[in-house]
């Protein structure tokens, strides 16, 4: 399904951000990628659909080496790779339905795209997916009028419209409140099961990674330092992934205990 071999990436003349990654996803299931900020999680995901150009190595998606594709063949390979974003990245001024149908842009002609005349099958699929995520009443609402959780549902549906062979999610819940975040994760998990879809999720919340994923990959400074089941991800493994780096995602900073500001002359008398 997805096979990554010796993948490296450096931006410009900088350090290597990915240092020769090897891993493979054979079938359906949810794989969480964890690691501290700057570990290279987003870079890895974005190399897979070539939003970022890999420096060297091979990425094979569904039997096709995507690393060397250009033009039309690159665009066709992207259709098979759905992506969900932290900031949702919906087109704010377009309706929910237009956003959802934009998942079909890789399949329809330019004239169809311009006039919004999508094939009936696409429209049917859009309606049934919107119903599946509970947004059937928002079809003609503008995307920027939705709440964060609703927007991310639209993001999920848009990605699924592509009929992807694999789904990438870059911190899909990091902009959401804890409860909504949990809902979106379970939705993703359920859809992955229903559609037998392999899902690759970058995630900072270790609890959620353990709760929702079958497999966890720990990235540290561009190297895979852990690769195992959620159950195998113990404190020792977490220490190896996060130790000495910016800090575990779920740990807060020490609160400032007293604020030594003199309020004389400002406080009401």
């Amino acid at each position: 399904m997805l096979k990554i071999t010796d993948l490296t990436k450096r931006y410009g003349n900088g350090e290597l951000v990915l240092k020769g990654l090897n891993f493979e996803i054979e079938g359906p299931g949810l794989t969480a990628i964890i690691g501290s900020s700057g570990a290279g999680k987003s870079t890895l995901l974005r190399c897979i659909n070539r939003l970022v150009e890999p420096t060297s190595g091979r990425i094979v998606v569904d039997g096709v080496d995507v690393t060397t594709l250009r033009g039309r063949r690159l665009r066709h390979s992207r259709r098979a790779i759905g992506m969900i974003f932290q900031g949702f990245n919906l087109i704010d001024r377009l309706s929910v339905m237009e956003n959802v149908l934009s998942g079909r842009l890789g399949y329809v002609s330019f004239a169809q795209a311009l006039t919004r005349r999508y094939p009936q099958d696409d429209v049917d699929r859009a309606f049934s997916l919107l119903e599946r995520v509970g947004l059937q009443d928002y079809v003609n609402k503008r995307a920027d009028t939705l709440s964060g959780g609703q927007r991310q549902r639209v993001g999920v549906v848009r990605a699924l419209m592509q009929e992807p062979k694999i789904l990438l999610a870059d911190e899909p819940t990091a902009s959401l409140d804890p409860k909504t975040s949990q809902q979106i994760m379970s939705l993703t998990r359920e859809l992955s099961d229903e559609l037998s879809l392999p899902v690759l999720v970058n995630i900072h919340n270790v609890h959620q990674a353990k709760e929702f994923s079958d497999r966890v990959v720990g990235l540290r400074y561009g190297t895979i330092i852990f690769d195992g089941t959620a159950a195998e991800l113990d404190d020792d493994a977490l220490d190896r992934i996060y130790e000495g780096t910016a800090g575990r995602g779920e740990q807060g900073e020490e609160p400032v205990d007293d604020m030594a500001i003199d309020t004389r002359g400002v406080a009401p008398s």
């Binding site: 659909n49 939003l51 039309r72 665009r75 066709h76 390979s77 992207r78 259709r79 790779i81 759905g82 992506m83 974003f85 900031g87 990245n89 919906l90 087109i91 704010d92 001024r93 377009l94 237009e98 934009s102 998942g103 079909r104 842009l105 890789g106 399949y107 330019f110 795209a113 311009l114 993001g155 848009r158 592509q162 004389r264």
Partner: protein
């Protein structure tokens, strides 16, 4: 209950910290102003002689003369038509040019070409451009329209290119990730984001073109400007004054309408 504290004062630090430099700048600025005013060729005698003439001109402008309304209507109609056509054509051309000139979405050579076109279109004042077009295509509305097209292209193209550079790139990436090519990305991720700006700029430009159409007419590029110039040449100051009054009225009305529309779409 609180101990007295020393009084602390604060002043905004001067923009130029070095006092010597600061006062030298003052002195230099005043010296230059004195020199500039003293050396300008104000000829007081001529100003004094001219005053009665100015009084005569303004005197004969009253009361404004609206009798030749036929001439006035045809002049204004031509100006307004020039402005509308030039806005439509200019804005239509400015869209592809703005896309070319947006650094974030165009390859370097295309970007430079786009910027070049915009810089060229903006480098001369419409009056100069109008003089050139009058020489090239003769007196009349065509020269005026070409002038205003170039004027619109320069202004709208530049601001639209900046608007494109400022769009949320995440939306572009999302559409790109679905397998869409350049044109579909434009239609789905770029245009929706710049649409309010685009409409606002077009209306603003129509407003500007209306004004400029009167100015370029003065050098022979058609419209009410020509009528106005002829009135001056024939010493019909009362008719000229009537034209100016109507012009101000039209500009006020168009400014009011365009302001309202732009607020409506923001």
């Amino acid at each position: 209950m609180s101990t007295p504290r020393p009084r602390r004062t604060w002043r905004k630090p001067p923009a130029i910290a070095n006092p010597v430099l600061r006062y030298s700048v003052f002195v230099l600025v005043f010296a230059y102003l004195y020199w500039a005013i003293a050396s300008l060729p104000f000829n007081w005698d001529r100003i004094v002689q001219g005053l009665p003439r100015a009084v005569r001109i303004f005197g004969s402008a009253f009361p404004p003369e609206f009798a030749r309304s036929q001439l006035m209507i045809s002049g204004f109609t031509e100006s307004i038509q020039m402005a509308i056509i030039a806005t439509l054509v200019g804005v239509a051309i400015s869209i592809p040019v703005a896309i070319m000139a947006a650094r974030t979405i165009s390859p370097r050579p295309v970007y430079l070409l786009g910027r070049g076109i915009i810089i060229l279109a903006r480098s001369f004042h419409p009056v100069i451009v109008a003089i050139i077009f009058v020489k090239a295509v003769g007196f009349g509305a065509l020269a005026g329209i070409l002038t205003l097209v170039l004027y619109s292209l320069g202004f709208v193209g530049k601001l639209l290119a900046e608007a494109i550079e400022e769009v949320d790139y995440g939306q572009i990436e999302a559409i790109r990730a679905s397998g869409a090519g350049f044109l579909k990305i434009l239609v789905y991720a770029v245009f929706p984001q710049i649409l309010p700006r685009q409409v606002g700029l077009s209306i603003y430009q129509l407003d500007s073109n209306l004004r400029a159409s009167a100015v370029v007419g003065v050098v022979g590029a058609g419209g009410i400007g020509g009528t106005l110039m002829n009135a001056f040449r024939r010493f019909d100051y009362d008719f000229a004054f009537a034209i100016l009054i109507v012009l101000i009225g039209i500009i006020l009305v168009s400014e009011g309408i365009s302001g309202r529309i732009r607020r409506g779409i923001a």
